[in-house]
């Protein structure tokens, strides 16, 4: 599942034209993000620079999903959130200002959830769900048919209900729903963790290519370093709610400094043993898809 280097470097091929997205055209910064619940600190001093596709790495419970929730204004009730977003036009949005953060949701920042099946409306057809989001987010560039094609699904799936989809199809539909909002930044929370390896490789190839084609910045939450390295260029490693290491993935893999990063690299290297076994079929699925 290696990625050709020129694909890695390619920027947005076709800008998604809407006023709001332009504000983030060259990225977005998060500074001083903190979150506390009942005077217990859950996140502290998290800084992110969302320019190239960014991976948010760390063990379970490190606070990866919580970072996304804070950015979306969906932090747990009664928690206090600090920090601010700096948009590319210089505008600053306080993360504690939930109204301002809510205005960015959809066209600004959009979530691709871990469990697609749970995020789809079980009693409505896929087409109706896509149409609703297109209308709510005033997206007149796309149509349900164009979105379903963009995520690599057949048009006949539009007529189906969520329970008639496989796990991989449901996750692609969730991606189509996220794209319907025309997001400037797509926050993907372990989008492939419920899929088998083959479906995972295919989904991530689609995720990377659609984000690049639409100029959406990608933040990928994962605990799998090899996976992150196939999709992203930079990474931030979290542990116990703090950033312990950040930088280009090539650098983190070559010389991890913090024990958490070292454990992630060691775990990924061990999985690599599967390839050491011999030449055989190395035609990576991700390469074939992209």
């Amino acid at each position: 599942m290696t990625v050709p280097s020129q694909a890695r470097a390619e920027g947005p091929a076709r800008g998604f034209t809407n006023a709001c997205a332009c504000a983030y055209d060259r990225g977005l910064r998060v500074i001083g993000l903190g979150c506390a619940l009942n005077s217990r600190s859950l996140l502290a001093d998290v800084e992110l620079e969302v320019d190239a596709p960014l991976a948010l790495l760390g063990p379970s419970g490190a606070g990866k999903s919580l970072v996304l929730r804070c950015l979306l204004g969906l932090a747990p009730p009664r928690s206090s959130v600090r920090g601010e977003l700096i948009l590319n036009d210089g505008r600053r949005v306080q993360l504690a200002d939930l109204r301002a953060v809510a205005r960015l949701r959809g066209r600004g920042l959009c979530l691709l959830p871990q469990e697609a099946a749970a995020s789809l409306d079980p009693v409505r057809r896929i087409e109706a769900q896509l149409r609703e989001l297109l209308r709510l987010h005033a997206n007149d560039v796309d149509s349900p048919a164009s979105l379903i094609a963009a995520v690599g699904l057949a048009g006949e799936l539009l007529r189906r209900y969520p329970h008639e989809l496989s796990g991989g199809q449901a996750q692609r539909v969730a991606l189509a729903l996220a794209l319907a909002c025309g997001p400037a930044v797509l926050l993907a929370d372990e989008p492939s963790s419920a899929l088998d390896n083959v479906a995972q490789a295919q989904l991530l190839a689609t995720l990377r290519s659609t984000c690049a084609a639409r100029g959406a910045r990608l933040v990928l939450v994962t605990h799998d370093l090899a996976l992150a390295a196939c999709v992203c260029e930079r990474a931030v490693v979290l542990d116990s709610g703090r950033v312990v290491e950040a930088g280009p993935l090539a650098q983190l893999i070559a010389g991890p400094m913090h024990p958490v990063t070292q454990a992630l690299v060691a775990a990924a290297r061990r999985a690599d043993a599967v390839f050491v076994a011999g030449p055989g079929a190395t035609g990576p699925v991700l390469e074939a898809m992209s």
């Binding site: 490789a201 992630l264 060691a266 990924a268 690599d272 011999g278 030449p279 055989g280 079929a281 699925v285």
Partner: protein, 254 residues
């Protein structure tokens, strides 16, 4: 060879609601054997495991446990297998009773199978926790307060409490982060060195080297390829095996 096998399937067919989901499967498992069944989602991996412990009624062909035929046999005939073959489920949170403490969860199979009980604070219970690398202090906690890795270890300790000869593991690492998953795989390898037979179901081929000897690749309910793990990883022949190997995320820059 035949004498030592614990569980042996010959031309096994499993049907769900009259539709066959596994066809013509041969599988032989003995003490200390380590076999992996791999395949993409929907290949029939979990249905196979459920069938092997008697949770699927629609069986045809032959399934022998300790030399006795189980296909078409009474529920009573399955009873020895129910203790000797233990299944560890993919999602430990839904497999563990949330109202029971860790000690009660591990003691329960002892009660069910009429084995001497392991009560809270007993050396046997502590030893069973130590065997899966859990602290003794965990025994009074409930599943909800444990991490994913701890829960899966409790599920493993519970399976081992029945003193099985075979352990069937259904994607037990898929909900865990990588370093934790490796800890669990290492544990399976130690258990196997102690003579436990192991059947690991997964879609992740990277887990197999060093732990598993034989691989059976399932595709659409049929065995599409089988062989020693080293050979199969070095030169997978069938498109399903090739796709599975190619889909392992590979670490670049190395």
């Amino acid at each position: 060879m035949k004498d030592r096998s614990i569980l042996s399937a010959r031309g096994l067919e499993v049907a769900l609601a009259g539709r066959p989901v596994i066809r013509d499967l041969d599988l032989e498992l003995g003490p200390g054997d380590a076999v992996a069944v791999v395949g993409p989602s929907g290949a029939g991996k979990s249905a196979l495991l459920r069938a092997l412990v008697g949770l699927e009624p629609g069986l045809a062909g032959s399934l022998r446990f300790g030399g006795l035929e189980l296909v078409g046999a009474s529920t009573e005939a399955w009873r020895p297998l129910r203790r000797a073959v233990q299944l560890c489920w993919q999602d430990p949170l839904s497999a563990l009773n949330p109202y029971l403490s860790v000690a009660e969860l591990i003691d329960e199979p002892r009660v069910i199978h009429g084995l001497p009980r392991w009560r809270v604070g007993s050396p046997e219970l502590r030893a069973s926790l130590a065997r899966v690398a859990l602290e003794p202090s965990i025994e009074r906690r409930r599943p909800g307060s444990l991490s994913g890795g701890q829960r899966q270890r409790v599920a493993l300790a519970r399976a081992l409490a029945a003193e099985p000869a075979l352990l069937l593991a259904d994607e037990i690492t898929s909900a865990l982060d990588r370093p934790v998953a490796w800890g669990l795989i290492d544990l399976l390898r130690e258990l196997r060195a102690d003579g436990l037979g192991l059947l690991l179901v997964t879609h992740d081929l990277s887990l197999l080297p060093g732990t598993i000897d034989q691989v059976v690749v399932l595709g659409g309910g049929e065995v599409v390829e089988r062989g020693p793990v080293r050979e199969l990883l070095a030169a997978p022949q069938h498109p399903v095996s090739r796709a599975l190997r190619a889909a392992v995320p590979r670490l670049p820059y190395s």
